[in-house]
Symmetry: C2
Subunit: 357 residues, 2 copies
């Protein structure tokens, strides 16, 4: 197993990750304390944390959840922001979304122009989820670098050595110096609501990015600031059944801009937990735990817990066939994405309301 912000490989042991990273499991007790827990919390996708119990005791707090802009945004990416939006709805909290166009440009083989454009396109998907523009701020590094963020990144950078970064992130001397600096910029994004608005922060992030939060917590400590809390998620499963969903592999994920035909094709071809024949399926039942469609229902489309439980039971018993499960998932997916795409179109005119002020 290898899990870093830049590489995820092998069979993932989520328990070992939590232990290894020094985080805590989200206990049923803690989840019960959350107002009307959103789907991704109820269903164990967000499964670990640091100091989130302390955040819940605060009257006001801010969420920081970043977006590494890419050409296509997947439903997986969207699921995380939907979760963030649900927490905003329940707590009225402030949400800061740094778009790391600079990071993507520095780490990936893309042009400066592409990095800039992906930012704007991805922002539309996030706006379409219904964030409150009065309480949500997007930060585009290459399109709206704030003096406060730059200065904070320099303060953080002074406290981070190359050794620390190298050991934590596996950097080598042929890495460009922008990528080496970037953890300081990320720390600045994370600590900004605390420095600027005196708000405690919870970072909502995949467990593979955890090290960046730890580096930020260390910088916060050294700068005499409150350490950011975090909520850590598992990876979203690939449609193909192996590994992590990836925006760069169109077969592994549904994109937010996919049309009906593509959605149908992708879900019909998705990895199934059913048996090879109907007879066998009726007799032995299917395995929802590895079934891509079931996972999409569980982590995105099926809000109703009872209904999901029934589907799981029926699929496991063989009463529900793979074809039927696929059909139901496709209906849900098409319906969601049609609405989403309409909202996404409307979002463009609201973009400026979300940009750095």
């Amino acid at each position: 197993m290898k899990v870093t912000p830049y590489e995820v490989e092998g069979e993932i042991d989520y328990d070992r990750l939590v232990q290894g990273f020094g985080a805590s499991r989200l206990t049923p007790d803690l989840i019960r304390k959350i107002k009307n827990p959103p789907l991704l919390l109820r269903r164990g996708h967000f499964y670990a944390h640091r100091d989130f119990d302390k955040i819940l005791k605060e009257k006001k707090f801010a969420i920081v959840s970043g977006r590494g802009p890419s050409e296509n945004m997947t439903l997986g990416h969207l699921a995380t922001f939907k979760f963030v939006k649900e927490i905003q709805d329940r707590y009225g909290c402030y949400v800061f979304i740094p778009f790391s166009d600079d990071e993507k440009f520095l780490y990936k083989d893309i042009t400066y122009e592409e990095a800039r454009q992906h930012c704007e396109e991805n922002a539309l998907d996030i706006i379409a989820l219904g964030f409150d523009p009065k309480k949500t701020e997007f930060m585009f590094d290459l399109g709206g670098m704030k003096q406060d963020i730059y200065n904070l990144s320099i303060k953080c950078a002074k406290r981070m050595t190359f050794s620390m970064i190298k050991d934590s992130l596996g950097f080598i001397p042929s890495n460009n110096i922008g990528s080496i600096f970037y953890p300081a910029m990320q720390a600045a994004h994370i600590l900004y609501p605390t420095v600027k608005y005196d708000l405690p922060v919870v970072v909502v992030i995949g467990i593979d990015q955890d090290i960046l939060v730890r580096l930020s917590r260390d910088a916060a400590f050294k700068l005499g600031l409150r350490k950011p809390a975090d909520l850590l998620s598992k990876f979203l499963p690939s449609l193909t059944g192996d590994g992590k969903m990836s925006a760069s592999d169109p077969n592994s994920a549904i994109y937010t801009t996919d049309n009906e035909k593509t959605i149908k094709k992708k879900l019909n071809n998705a990895f199934s937990g059913g048996q090879e024949t109907i007879e066998k399926h009726r007799k032995l039942g299917g395995n929802p735990d590895i079934d891509a469609c079931f996972q999409y229902l569980k982590l995105f489309f099926e809000e109703d817990d009872k209904k999901l439980k029934q589907i799981e039971k029926d699929y496991r018993s063989g009463k529900l066939l793979s074809g039927e499960l696929k059909k139901y998932t496709i209906e849900k997916a098409v319906s969601f994405l049609k609405q989403h795409q309409a909202k996404r179109k409307q979002a463009r005119k609201n973009l400026s309301k979300f940009l750095s002020r």
Copy 2:
């Protein structure tokens, strides 16, 4: 001999530096082509260059000459900006002065607030020299970071690896990641007039900083931009007679804010090239080449070439005594600094005219 942007040690062999760095000597032929050559060119203080002959063929060009802000600005620092101002007067060229408050904060044991404050104080000295505010722009990284500069630094950073920086600047893994990134920011300062205004650039800089220009030239090449030219100076001698003038050693240099009493004391105590007794001096003569007062006249106070020659001759022959040379230098220094300090007071109200737009 060790000469890097962060350390200068040993007996300096200026010829070997030019050769080693791959620059060219400023020839008498090239100096003759410069309109009314300023004192520091006539007297060999600026002694090497890259592509400056090409710059002289341009109708328009920009000078970039940075300031690493420090608590006290020395006459040595001022001499370089006086030179830049003289080139501006003769050619009507644009002058960009990046104040690397971020660099100083990252490299030195000073607070963020100190770095910010030194910037503003040093700026007053530079304004007092009479720069044209319509053609001169100051860039404070921590007090006016421009989106264009940040974005350009990221583009440069993508083309610079840790290996390159490490080998060029002698970095070690315990260096902070801000200092490792800084060469990209410096390259952005240098390339900005070319990117933003399509102006060829000449960097006016001490030879110890040459590597940063070479890194910028390399980045320019990789980005398809015109490479910046440079004019390279020797070091200003210390008042104490050993090594380089240093802003952090008050005995080594006259500060722009020193009062009459301090100036007198510093110059009277300065390293002398005279003999121990008047009799010996009359007989053997003094050595102006190692005499701190003579060097101040040569590099700053005595504009008149004939007069300087006479002083040199008389000092060498023993006709001019050390005490007389000191007295003359003190008169010149006090007179200059009184005027300068008056202009410096006036400068504060004009500061905003020079800041980034």
